[in-house]
């Protein structure tokens, strides 16, 4: 797995799936490229148009709370985001991130500031803050979730193994 580099976009606590993929755009769920143009619009309106390939979404507590809509992590990934990093995640959102092949890392994000350059090495479990010259480590995923992520998501995982590969 390659090293991922980009800049940090900071978000607060309790970012909900309505912030990420608003209910008023329900009719765009079968048109993901169009829905992706509005990703996180209700949290930061400039995000969707300015995010660069490789950037990082940095959250606080309970990132992704609310609905089970997998469209939420899907459009974050489609926007080119390397990973979502937050102090904690809502359960369904976390599972959906891995299922769509979007790394979701649990980390105290207070030390990361808006615009910091970050470099993520998933394999070694290290996140470098190039701006602050700091290195953070994060807990590894459970083996099954690590397998799903390294296969590129749940669709690829099932295609490859015909079932969940539990260990």
């Amino acid at each position: 797995m390659e090293t991922l580099t980009g800049k940090a976009w900071k978000f607060g606590d309790g970012i909900s799936t309505d912030h990420i993929a608003p209910g008023r755009l329900f009719h765009l769920r079968s048109n993901l490229p169009e829905l992706a143009k509005h990703v996180l619009e209700d949290a930061r309106s400039e995000f969707a148009s300015q995010v660069q390939q490789g950037d990082f979404v940095i959250g606080g507590r309970n990132f992704g709370q609310g609905s089970s809509r997998e469209h939420a992590p899907t459009i974050i990934k489609m926007a080119g985001v390397s990973a979502v990093i937050a102090k904690s995640f809502a359960r369904i959102f976390f599972r959906n991130c891995i299922n769509v092949g979007l790394p979701a890392l649990i980390l105290d994000t207070d030390g990361i500031n808006e615009g910091d350059r970050l470099e993520l090495a998933l394999l070694t479990g290290e996140l470098k803050n190039l701006t602050r010259n700091e290195t953070y480590t994060f807990p590894p995923l459970p083996p099954l979730m690590a397998n799903i992520l390294s296969d590129g998501g749940l669709v690829e995982h099932i295609k490859k193994h015909k079932d969940f590969k539990l260990d």
Binding site: G23, S30, R61, S68
Partner: protein
Amino acid sequence: MGKTLVEKILGEHVGHDVRPNEFAGVRVDLAYVQDGTGPLTVRQLEKIGLEKLYDPQRSLVFLDHASPSPRQELSNDHKLLRDFCRKTNAIISDIGNGISHNVVSERYARPGDVIVGADSHTCTNGAMCAFATGMGSTDIAVAMALGHTWMRVPESWKVIVTGMFQKGVYAKDFMLYLIGTIEADGATYKALEFSGFAIDSLSMTGRFTIANMAVECGAKAGLFNSDEATAQFLDEQGRADDFKPISADSDADYEKILEFDAGTLEPMIACPHFVDNVQPIGSVEPVGVDQVFIGTSTNGRLEDFRTAAAILKGRKVAGGTRLLITPGSRKVLLDGMADGTFQTLAEAGGVITGPGCGACVGVHEGVLGDGEVCLSTQNRNFKGRMGNPKASLYLASPATAAATAVNGTITDPREFI
């Protein structure tokens, strides 16, 4: 060592005894999607190349969120889902049948089942003593195709509610209080198992309300014992044979025990824009309300509408306030027409819509205008939830909603009881 409800139900579906934090393959009894999540499920099944469902008669597709469809994109989604059901023999629950979780309670959920749905409020059927939990579209696609899924067995918390609810205070008020106390991520990854005198005395309507909102404090599931109330509910649905008594063992091992006294609770309100921003009604400003909405998988059952109708009987909705009434299922609509409940609500000035999710998801049937305020019986008040990020949402019980509709400002229902 005895077993929790979670250990009993998941153990049976894994094939051996399970303990918290174990990762296991779990047999699934029922898998479902709705019109917001289902189209992606269909496409993922195609991508994986799985066209045959494990058990089509236990795979359900609900058209409840945009129902009937308000625009062509969603009509095409509905078409896709209807075609999928024709091809695979999965069961379609078309527009007018009602909200997935409510219909699952009435027709499908059995005590002891494992139920997974592509909707976060799948946990509603924990009230039926099922291990019911929400997942994403792809997880449900795989569950429908393989007949099983994977889970991390959650730690259980025992939530004991003693005493009796005072007049004007309901299961909704308790659940809002609990969420306000432990906060929106307080029980993330945990299962809540509810018990105690106040819980045992609750009707299934109240239990559904509580289980529905388990996800609002992060929980993976919220479960109740299967007892006389469960048996009576199943009997009323013509499914008495599906009853099976199940209760947690008294010596089961819980990670945490939380105790509450129902008798000390007041009507509660969740204020904008977070479900855990909860205040007792006495501390909330009597804000003017443009729209009141009664319905949803949280509070869209006949008892909920009867509670509202008892307050609205012989009264009128305040000028300048709209009252929306959305039955949770066709059965609720029919039963509430037969007993005059919906007649009363319509006479008071309520707008009765067809069964479904109604205004809750912000797609149709009551989208709010800029700066407008809504008090709803639903489960979420996130910014933008009802289709407009410039609107504000308060959450409360059907009684508080009815009292608020009468006065046009947020009102303590005890004024009318």
